[in-house]
Each structure stands twice: as C-alpha cells, then as structure tokens.
C-alpha cells in the first residue's frame, strides 16, 4: 500500500492530464472507501524521509484538506469524520505528524505543523490530545533538539494557538507555551529562524496570555522580551516584533501606560530609520492606539452603560512628539505613487495615521500641523508642496468647524490655484484635499459657507478645467465634484444655484468616462458615479430636461456595449464593467424621475430600456446582473402594473438570479427585485409565484448560500403574500415551516459574537415582516388558516421582547406584527392576548421611544389588541 500511494501521489501531479485524472480518481476512491487508512497512509508518506518531497507535499495537502475546509458546514462534516476514525489509527496519524516536525525537509515540517493545528482544533476543544502541548514543549527542552525541530515546534504552537480559543487550554498549559515561546526568542541561544518562529508564535498566543498580562511581573517580562526583539538585527524579526506590539496595543490597551515612553522611542526610531516594512508596522502601532481611543470616545459619547473602558489619552499625551514624527513621513513619497489606488507606503501610512490623530484629539492637532503646511506649501521641491497639502487634507475631520473654517477660507484660493501646479502629485493631492473640504465642511445652509455664490463660478471652472488633466488627477477631481454636489442634497433652494453648472459638469464627466489615455477603469467608474450623484442631488423640475437627455445618452451607450467586439476575456470584463456602470446610472435616473411628476419620461422609454436590460442579461455576467437587476427593480416601481408585460421574458433572468447562490449579492438583489415586482404587479404576479417560491425555498435550504440572503427572503415571503392574498395558501405550510425553523435558530446564535447578534436581529426582523405580510394578505379571506400559528407566534414574539440584543428595527417589526395578528385573527386571539401579558410591557417600551413612527405603530397595535380583548 505504501509503495502504491507514493506513485499515485506523484501521478496526481503529472504533466499528463490523463494520468493525472486517473490518479486523482484513485485517490478519491481510496478516501471514500477507507478514510482511516487513507489518512494513515498519507501521514506515513508525509513522515517518511525516504520518500520524494513531491509525494510528501501532496500527502500533506490532502491530509489538511481531509480535516479542514473553508465552508463551515463541510468543515463540521470533516471534523465528524475524523472523530469517528478508530482511536489507534488516529494515534498513529498524530505520531507520524509529530515525528515529521523533526524532518530535514522544511516543507514537510511546515505542512505537518499546520495539519497538527487542524487536528488540535478538532480534538482539544473536546478535551482530547491533552498531551500535545507537553509533547511539543518536550521538543523545546530536549538538549539534542535540532534548531529545525525547535523552529517547527514553535510554528506548530503558533498555529495551534491560532486555531483554538483560549478557554480550551488550562492556565498551566498557557504558561508553558509562553515560556517555551519566550525562550525560543532568546537572542543568545537561538538561530534567526527559531527566533522568528518564536515571535510569530507569540503573536498567535497573545490572546491566551490574558492572565499573564494581568500580572505585572509577567507582563513586564513579556514586554521586555518583545521590545528587545524589536531591535533584533534581522529586519523580519523586527517586523514580527512590531506586529506583536500592534496586536498588544489593541488587546491590552489599558495596560500600556507604563511602557508608552519606551514604545514611543522604539516606534519613532523605527519610523525614522528602519526599513519600510518595519517602519510601516511602527506607524500602525499608533494608528491602532488611535482606533482604540476613538472607539472609547464613541462609547463615552453614547449612552453610559458602565461598560466603557477607561480612556488613557495616550495620543493626546504623545501629541507634541507624535505629530512631527508623522509629518516627517509625509515627505517620504514615492515617485509615481498616484498611479496605484492601493498604494501603501510611509507617506500614505503617515497621512492615514495623522487623519486618525485628528479625529482623536480634534482642535489640538491644528497648531501642530499648520506651521508645517505654511512652511512647505510654497517650497520649490514638489515633495514639500505635496506633503503640506496632504497634511492639510488629513486633518479636516475631527477639529471643530470654527477652527477649520478660517483656515479653509484663507487657503481655498491657494488650493484652487495649485490645481495648475507643474507637478502631478501636487495636483492629485490638491484635488483630493478639495474633495475632503467639500465632503466634510461644505454645507450651503451654514453661516460660514465654504462655497458661496461668489466663489462657486471659480470653483466650477477650475474643476471642469482640471478634469481634463492626467487620469489620476481627473479621478480626484471627480471625487471633488461628487462631494460638492452632495453638499447641496438636502438644500432645495441652494441647489438651483448649482443648476447652471450641471449640464457642463455632466458633459465633462461623460467625456472623462470616454477617455482613452488610461486602461485604469477607476477613472471611468468615478466619472459615472459622480454623474449619479449629480442626478440624485439635482433639483426638480429645472434639471428635468437635462436628466431626460442624459437618460437617452446612457441608453445609447448601453446599446453600444452590445455591439462591442469581444475577442478576449479582457474585452469581456471591460464590457461587463461598463454595462454595470451604465445600468447603475439608469437605475439612479429611474429612481429620481419616478418619484417626481416627470415619471412619464420613464414610461415613454420603459419598453426600450427593458429591451436593453434583457439584452445585457444575455451577455451573462454577475456584476451586470446585480446592477441591471437594481435598475429593473426601480423600473417596476415606476411602471406599476404595466410591468406585467415584461414578465414573461424577464422571468427567466429573475429565476437565474434567485438561483445564483454562489454569487450571493446577485441572489440577494434578485430577492429584493421580487419585492419590487410584487408591489408593482400585485395579484398579477401570481402566474410566476410557483417558480419564485420554489427558488426561494430552495435557497433557504441551501447551506452554501451566504446567510445574509436569508432574512431578505423571509421579508420577500411577506411581499408575495401581500400581493397575492389568499392565493398564498398553497405555500403557507412551507413558508411557515421555514419561518419556524429560523425562529428556532435565533435562540442558538452566539450572543457574544457581534456579527451573530446582528444577524439574529436581521433574521428576526425578516421573520416578523414575513408574518406581517402573510397576516395582512389573508386578512380579507381565509384568516382562519393562520389561527393554528397564533400561539407559537406570540411565544416567539415574547422571546424576542425579552432578548436584550433586540434592535429598533426588530422592535418595530415585532410590534407591527402583533397588531397585524390582532387585526387579522380578531376574536380568535382574544384568549391568547388575555393569557400573555408581555404585550402591554412591550407597547409601554415603545411609547417611551423617540421614534415617532414606532410610537404611531404601537398606538395602532394597542388599538387592535384592545379591540380583540373587548370582543
């Protein structure tokens, strides 16, 4: 057998496709027919020093894939299979793995340490393999252990800590791990590889060290070791040490006080003199401190619930030294850095950190930054001018409007002129800074408006001029226009001030979108998104003609995409991206016009648009699916019952969208579109309901579908029931069983996991919306069908009422559903409502709320319940 598997493993990596396929089939068969021996054979292969590295490599990968998967359900299945393997075989496999840590082949060692961690993640929470840690520590203490074994052992410890959670280990095990790890970091004794593995293992073990960090002596020791490691002679060890410090900053913020001076010196010298990857982590340390303190400030600003952490104001205290250090980094730009949207270098990290500092301390940052701005902004070297502008732009969020406005008033003209600077980097950053000013400070109704009737012509003329600059500058200009327009959104009267410029702006943006001098799709996307913002914020009815005109132009462009020559996957992608953007513009236009008196503009072109969308669907691409779906949802709302004529053709694509569980955003948006169509068509949607309901029910039972789609599906049940009324009867048992299942699931979600709490709330809200729709749908006939569910529904509502993580959205949906229940079932629910008393407490809570709509709903519900109680 052993011989055989070697050759199969090698064959599975053959260049010859046929040989490979056969070998893969054999392996799969082996796995399915005899998993225990398959695992054993693989582990023996991995541990056997006589075997070729290639077969050992694949053996390791297959082992790992037999124990772990990305999908959580599959992962659980694999864990169950491993658990059911015979104990002696499991023992042999684990021994082989531990043995492999001593291999001379580094790849085998690494694979083995990862597989050990996977096995540990299954077994240790079950209180099995309790001697693992001891065995690993033994490797560290044995005098004759090779450095390679120590390195592999430390790596294994790191991975194990990453895989399991702190409560799975006893404190003495944690202590032993930390001791081993810290010893491994000893400069004197160990090689570079061992020390690197040690510091990385410490990084993973930090979460386990809660108790140790609470103890001052142990904490002092751990901090000393990490700080010493941060000045090791090898840069990747130093980098790993700073990564540890970053993690300590977020995990043990409240314990850092005594070390801050040391840490400042350490980070400052790294920022000033170390290699970039190390310096970046040193800056990251301060950004992380900012994150912590901003979170604490937000908690303090919110309702005092007693759980707020203490604010040590480390940033405020370090400010006079920290800010100059960050300002220095701004001068360390790279040439051509503006070409890449995701650039991450010293200057970018420094500016980002400076922005966080400004949000953290507010006004106090301004006097420390402004002299730097004034000194540098007129200097001859572009680096000085760019850094000055970047510094100014970075501190616009945080300080008070009163402090910033005089500076902005004084500097705005300068910035507008700087859009003609001879250096592109300077222009790029200037346009970005203008955008930040508009985003944060521009509000036409405030007393000291940044943009006035007097300077608006100049601003617009500079922006429309600069949008023709090089692509990266043009892109930042799009952003500036975007935020400028957005500032006028809620200001009906002032937006007409803007109206005269909009047609020119749109035409400039459309030309920008057409530019051929860049292959970067960012510019095009920014241009179209800015067009969207103009449409969204424009004032009616004066912009109506302009938007109607734009609509026809975009339709023309969309139809042109259908004619594009497609000869490569790149062409295909380009076509899809463009279609997505254009569908996006149409969606915004439809939405804008359908809520106005100008709906007729949409209705006149509805047929044509729908034909375009259907043809776009014909091109098949998920991103287009998403945007075209959204546009169609908007169109359905605009056309109302007329939409029925598009259904026969559109339905196929809708169904495809609903079935697309792999790309869950598409699925989710399609579900939303079903709701739009229900509202547009009412009972005319009936002929399509069988298909839609089957697809939705299938989605709900699909474990591969991203969970975020499930709450919208429940709400969608409500939409359908509301549209087709009593015709929903045939789906009722299926829908209710899904709803009851989900209601049951809500009680099992982890209340300590914020994401799960959030998901639970979405789920509950979806469930209530479903029942509301169903109750309302059956109100006029067949209400009696729902009587059997009333009692359970009240129990569920009571459980939700008592749930302390319940959010406002859930409250609103729950209270409304109570009213619907009383309204629809009437006297049938009299005894139920009389027997449970929570509803009056629940309503009482709602009347205390500041949310007017909630109070109104609660009042209605109260009336409905009273009517039942006196019936």
């Amino acid at each position: 057998m052993a011989m055989e598997i070697t050759s199969i493993l090698l064959a599975a990596q053959s260049q010859d496709g046929q040989i490979r396929t056969v070998a893969e089939g054999n392996l799969k068969q082996f796995q399915e027919q005899n998993l225990p021996h398959f695992l054993l054979a693989l582990s023996i292969e991995l541990s056997n020093e006589q075997k070729p590295p290639e077969s050992r490599r694949l053996a390791g990968i297959l082992l790992k894939n037999s124990l772990d998967a990305k999908d959580s359900i599959r992962k659980e299945e694999l864990a169950q299979k491993w658990i059911s393997v015979d104990l002696t075989i499991k023992f042999q496999v684990k021994e082989s793995l531990l043995k492999t840590l001593g291999s001379s082949v580094s790849e085998a060692r690494r694979t083995s340490s990862q597989v050990i961690a996977k096995v540990a993640s299954i077994e240790i929470p079950r209180r099995e393999w309790q001697d693992l840690i001891a065995k690993l520590l033994n490797n560290m203490t044995q005098k004759d252990s090779l450095p390679s074994l120590k390195e592999a052992t430390l790596e294994t410890l790191g991975y194990v800590c990453e895989e399991i959670s702190p409560e799975d280990l006893e404190q003495d095990q944690v202590n032993a791990i930390l001791t081993a790890v810290v010893q491994g970091m000893n400069q004197m004794e160990h090689s570079f590889e061992v020390r690197l593995a040690g510091i990385k293992a410490l990084y993973n073990a930090l979460d386990f060290a809660q108790t140790n960090f609470q103890n001052e002596i142990e904490r002092n020791y751990l901090m000393k070791v990490v700080c010493e490691t941060a000045v090791s002679k090898e840069s990747n060890v130093r980098q790993a040490a700073f990564e540890c410090l970053v993690s300590i900053a977020s995990t043990y913020y409240e314990l850092l006080g005594p070390y801050m001076e040391t840490l400042f010196n350490l980070t400052a010298s790294a920022v000033r003199g170390d290699e970039e990857p190390v310096a970046l982590q040193a800056i990251e340390f301060w950004s992380t401190i900012c994150d912590e303190e901003i979170t604490i400030q937000e908690e303090h600003a919110g309702p005092a619930d007693g759980s707020s952490s203490q604010h040590y104001r480390f940033i405020e205290k370090a400010l006079p030294l920290l800010v100059p250090m960050l300002l220095e980094t701004l001068l360390k730009q790279e040439e051509d850095q503006d070409q890449d949207d995701n650039i991450w270098n010293l200057s970018m990290a420094g500016g980002t950190c400076l922005g966080l500092v400004a949000r953290n301390v507010g006004d106090a940052v301004v006097p420390l930054v402004m002299p730097f701005v004034q000194d540098n902004i007129t200097k001859a070297d572009w680096r000085n001018r760019e850094a000055a502008t970047f510094a100014f732009g970075s501190i616009l969020e945080g300080p008070s409007v009163e402090t910033l406005l005089p500076l902005v008033h004084a500097g705005l003209n300068f910035l507008l002129n700087a859009m003609k600077d001879q250096n592109t980097h300077v222009k790029d950053t200037t346009a970005w800074a203008l955008g930040r000013i508009f985003e944060i400070l521009h509000s036409p109704s405030s007393t000291y408006a940044v943009i006035t009737n007097a300077n608006l012509p100049q601003i617009m003329s500079v922006l429309l001029e600069s949008i023709r600059d090089v692509p990266n500058v043009a892109e930042k200009v799009c952003g500036a226009i975007y935020f400028l327009v957005q500032g006028y959104e809620d200001d009906g009267s002032a937006s007409s001030v803007l109206t005269p410029y909009l047609a020119d702006a749109i035409s400039a943006l459309l030309s920008t979108a057409d530019r051929m001098d860049t292959n970067n799709s960012r510019l095009r996307a920014s241009a179209y998104e800015t067009v969207n913002e103009i449409v969204r914020c424009s004032s009616q009815p004066e912009s109506l003609n302009m938007i109607a005109h734009l609509m026809h132009e975009i339709m023309k462009r969309l139809s042109q995409t259908l004619e594009l020559q497609i000869s490569s996957s790149e062409d295909k992608e380009n076509q899809s991206d463009l279609q997505a953007l254009l569908c996006g513009v149409l969606q915004v236009i439809i939405q804008k016009l359908s809520s106005s008196d100008a709906k007729s503009v949409i209705l006149q072109s509805a047929d044509q648009m729908m034909i375009l969308f259907l043809r776009v669907f014909g091109c098949r691409s998920s991103s287009v699916h998403e945007e075209a779906m959204l546009a169609i949802g908007a169109l359905a709302y605009a056309t109302g019952p007329e939409f029925a004529k598009y259904m026969p053709e559109f339905y196929n694509y809708l169904e495809m969208g609903l079935q697309n569980f792999e790309e869950y955003q598409v699925c989710s948006i399609s579900v939303g579109v079903v709701g739009d169509i229900c509202r547009a068509l009412d009972e005319k949607i009936l002929p399509f309901c069988n298909g839609i309901m089957s697809a939705l029910l299938k989605d709900l039972s699909n474990s591969m579908l991203h969970r975020s789609v499930k709450p919208p599906i429940f709400s969608c049940f409500g939409d359908i029931a509301l549209a087709i009324g009593e015709q929903f009867e045939k789906y009722l048992p299926y829908a209710v069983s899904m709803l009851q299942g989900a209601a049951g699931l809500c009680t099992y979600l982890d209340v300590n996991d914020e994401d799960m709490v959030d998901y639970g709330n979405q789920l509950r809200r979806g469930i209530f919306e479903a029942y509301s729709g169903i109750l309302q749908g059956f109100k006029n006939s067949k209400a009696e069908l729902l009587v059997p569910y009333a009692s359970q529904l009240l129990q569920f509502t009571e459980a939700v009422f008592k749930d302390k993580n319940r959010d406002e959205g859930v409250t609103r949906a729950a209270v409304a559903m109570l009213g619907d229940l009383a309204d629809t079932l009437g006297p049938n629910t009299k005894l139920l409502f009389r027997d449970c008393t929570f509803h009056s407490d629940f309503l009482g809570e709602c009347f205390e709320s500041d949310d007017e709509q909630l109070k109104e709903t609660a009042t209605w519900t109260q009336g409905m319940i009273r009517r039942v109680l006196v019936s």
Partner: protein, 522 residues
C-alpha cells in the same frame, strides 16, 4: 490537484485603507445600499398604509399613553390643514380665470384625501370651515365629471362621520339625488349613491327626507346597472333607504318596473359582494311589504336564495340570505304550501343549507337558521317528519341545552313545533306522540323547564306550552310524574301570582288540571 492548495501560510501584516482613496468604491457601494433601502422603505409604507387605513380603532378610555398625545398633535395639524384647504376651495370657486376648474379639482382631491386619511378624519374642521355649501356649489349642473366625483366623494366621507355630521349634508341632498339620474356618468352616479346610502343609514328622519326628494327611483334604476360596483353601491343604498319601519318605501320599490327582474338577474349572476347587497334589499322587502313577499315567493328568487345558501361560505352573504328565506316562509303560506313541497329538490337543498348553518361556528348563522327551521316546522305533517328525521334534530336538542339564550329559544320553537300536529278547525292541537316521546327520551324536558324560568315571557309561554304537551301526550300518564320529578311543579308555581294574566291562568290551569286534588290517587 493544484486547486486544492489553499494558501498555507496565514498573512501576518496589518493593512488599513489609505485616507487618500478614490471615490468610486464607496460611491458605488453607497448607491447600491440606497437602491436597496428604497425597496425596504416602499415595503414599509405600503404595509403601513394597509394598517392605518383600516376601520376605526375602538376608543379605549383607559390608559392615556403618550401615544394619544401624538395623535392629538397630528390631529391638530390635520384639522388646520383641512380648514386651510376649505378656504382655498372657497377662493378657487370665486376665481373664474384660466385653469380655475383644474385648480378646483385639485383642491377637492386634497380635501377628499384629508377626509379619508386618518382614523379620526377631520370632518368637524371641514364643516366648521363651511365645506358643505362649497361642495354643493361644486355639484352644480354643468360641472366636470372629475369635479362632481371629488365633491360627492368629500360628501360621502363627511356623511360617514357622526350623526350630526351626516345631518349636515341636508342642503346637498337635492343635488346628490339629481346626479343619481340617467344623465350622469356612472362613476359620478355611483359616488352620489354612496353618499346617499350613508345618509339613509343614519335614521328614519333622513330616510323620509330622501324619499320625499325622490331618491328611490333613480337608485332602483342604478341597481339595474350592468356595472358591478354601481349596482352593489346602489343596492346597499337602497337597503338603507327602505329599512322602514314605515313600509311605504318597500311597497314603492317593489312596484318599480324591472326591479324584480334585476334582483333575479343579480342573484343568478353576481359575485358574492353584489349578491349580498341584493339579499339585504330582499330582507327589507320581505320584512315590510306583503305585496313584495307575494311577488317574491312566486318568482325565481326563492330557488336562487336557496342556491346561494347551499353554495356560499361567506358569513356576510349567508346572514341576509337566511333572513330573507325566514321572512318569506314566515309571512306567506305559499312558501310551505306550494314552493317547499316535501319531496322537491328545493326543500332538501334548503334543509341541507340550514343544517350547514346550524353546524357553523357563527352564532348569528345558528340563530337565523334555527329561526327559519322553526317556521318550516310549523308547516305540514310531512315538513315536521322531514325535519324530525334529519340531522337538524340532534343539533337543535344540543342547542336547547347548551347554546346561548336566543339560539336556545329558536331551537325550542322548532322542537315544540315538531311535536304538534297541524291545527284542524280550532280544536286543541293534536300531538305527534312519536316525536314527543323521542324528544323527552333525548332529555329535552329540562331545557324547556329552564325556558319557563326565564324572564322572557315569550320563552316562558313556549315552555309552558311544551309542558302541557308532555303532560297531556306522554302515554300511560307518565307526563305529570316526569314533570314532577324534574321540578316542573316548582317552575309552574312561579306564575301563581304573575302579573301577566295569560301566563298566570295558563300555569294555574295546568297545575290544577294535572296536580289537582285527584293527583296521586290512582
């Protein structure tokens, strides 16, 4: 196998989003979120509209929550908006320039929406601002259909309010009735019928005024319309109009040419909603007009009513159908003698329809069906046998012991009738001994004794009559003994000094006759 090589080493480097980023990422995300949020908002507003447009919530006087204050504030805002709108209407009427008509219609529409908006519509505010005379002006001849429709709609909403609100429509009635006429467009006529129906529903006084102003004939004509909603609304308005108690209107209505045909036609073809309203018209015709009854029983109406009774499950529909049938059976012997002959299909169908109603959950249906049955049970020997041997008897026996009082009484009437032979030449009614014995065996006596103890004279009389049957009719003189065992004597002695002479005599005579000096001596 290459694709199975998941990344083996975890990334270990902190990265965050740069402060200087491009706008398109966040913008596109934000736009999509907005598009999705719009859908959610629309869902909420749709369902909110459905909830809040419901019929009025009962006004609980207890627990004045903060919520009520909010309603007060809203109400205030609504009231002032309404007064404002009425004032605008006034100036729009005065204004005669270009676009005046359109302007008026727009204001009327706003007013109409205000008046239909909330649970407590701002009717008072509209009236105080002087809406009615203005609306009457808007109803003047030659106005556009749109204007007429909106004005009539406003008036309909006002008429739906409190009694004094309804009365305030008085000055508008002649115009509303005028627009019921043949020259009006259907929607306008229908809306006016609705307003008139609301007014007619208010009370006898307003009904008489409407009748005097000639509302009956045009409504009857509208009822013959082919348009479902029009004939439904006018049927409803008519049923309100002929409610009586004066039978004059009902007598007049049945004389309208083609009305009976329209009733037959609608019962034959119409949907449940229209048929329901038509059935209500029949209820009042048959309750108030002998002329109408004699025409109805000879028409196809009875067969059609029975058909509806058997086919429908709608409570709304079954109530007027049952009541119509009951009225017809009770007031015209033609029904029993000629129409509902035992052995005819129609009779069996009627009985099965009634049994269905007896089995229903709804108390009203049980009561109405028992009442119809009691009338049929008063018919011929064959009718009695038919009912006796049907599923109805055990149901009625059960009612007698456990149903609410009003149903119990109707059941007792029926059961009593089943035991009495049809009267011949003023003799004391004969007894159908088989029925009587079996009812007694089923334990009916306590039920009737309970009726005797009731404060309701009619029920007590019914109980006494049944007691008399028992004592006279049970073979072997078992009757008096049984009555004594069941505390019947005590029940009868309650009437010894009763203020009602008839009852006193009846009870005393019975006690004397069956428990007099000779009782107990064999």
């Amino acid at each position: 196998m290459a694709d199975e090589e998941a990344a083996l080493s975890p990334p270990l480097s902190h990265r965050r989003d740069p402060i200087k980023s491009s706008v398109h990422n966040t913008a596109a995300h934000r736009r999509r979120q907005q598009a999705i949020a719009v859908g959610k908002e629309r869902r909420e507003s749709l369902i909110r509209a459905k909830r809040l447009c419901r019929d009025t919530v009962i006004d609980g006087s207890e627990s004045p929550f903060e919520g009520d204050m909010i309603i007060d504030e809203e109400k205030e805002a609504l009231d002032s908006k309404t007064s404002q709108t009425v004032l605008e209407l006034k100036s729009a009427i005065a204004f005669q320039g270009k676009g005046a008509t359109q302007k008026k219609v727009e204001i009327l529409r706003v007013l109409r929406r205000l008046l239909s908006q909330s649970e407590v519509p701002p009717i008072e505010a509209a009236l105080q601002a002087g809406a009615v005379p203005l609306l009457v002006q808007c109803l003047s001849f030659g106005s556009s259909d749109e204007q007429l429709l909106e004005a009539a709609w406003c008036l309909t909403n006002i008429a739906a309010g409190e009694p004094e609100h309804t009365k305030s429509l008085l000055p508008s009635l002649p115009m509303l009735i005028a627009h019921l006429g043949e020259k009006s467009s259907t929607p306008v006529a229908e809306q006016c019928a609705w307003a008139v129906g609301n007014v007619a529903g208010e009370g006898e006084e307003l009904r008489n005024i409407l009748l005097a102003q000639g509302a009956l004939f045009p409504l009857a004509r509208l009822m013959m319309s082919n348009k479902g909603s029009t004939s439904r609304t006018s049927s409803w308005a008519l049923s309100n109009l002929i409610k009586g108690p004066d039978p004059k209107a009902a007598n007049e209505l049945i004389r309208v040419d083609g009305l009976l045909d329209a009733i037959v036609w609608h019962l034959k073809k119409a949907d449940d909603e229209l048929a329901t309203e038509v059935a209500w018209v029949i209820v009042y015709l048959s309750a108030l007009s002998e002329k109408a009854t004699s025409l109805l029983v000879k028409s196809d109406v009875v067969r059609l009513l029975v058909g509806r009774l058997v086919a429908s499950e709608s409570l709304q529909m079954l109530i007027p159908v049952l009541r119509s049938l009951g009225n017809l059976v009770a007031s015209d012997s033609y029904m029993i003698d000629v129409v509902l002959i035992v052995g005819h299909t129609i009779t069996d169908e009627l009985l099965s329809g009634l049994i269905k109603c007896l089995k229903s959950e709804h108390r009203v249906l049980k009561k109405e069906a028992s009442w119809v049955l009691s009338n049929i049970a008063a018919g011929s020997l064959e009718h009695k046998r038919l009912i006796y041997s049907s599923e109805a008897t055990p149901l009625l026996i059960n009612f007698l012991s456990s149903a609410p009082f009003d149903i119990r009484k109707e059941a007792a009437f029926t059961l009593g009738n089943l035991c009495v032979a049809p009267p011949k030449n003023n003799e004391q009614p004969g007894i159908i001994v088989v029925h009587l014995v079996s009812l007694i065996d089923s334990g009916c006596l306590p039920g009737f004794l309970n009726l005797i103890r009731s404060a309701d004279i009619e029920s007590a009389r019914l109980g006494l009559q049944f007691l008399e049957l028992v004592m006279r009719g049970l073979p072997n003189g078992e009757g008096p003994k049984l009555v004594e065992r069941e505390d019947g004597i005590e029940a009868m002695e309650r009437f010894q000094f009763h203020e009602n002479e008839e009852m006193r005599n009846m009870a005393n005579t019975l006690v004397d006759k069956y428990f007099g000096e000779d009782y107990g001596l064999e």
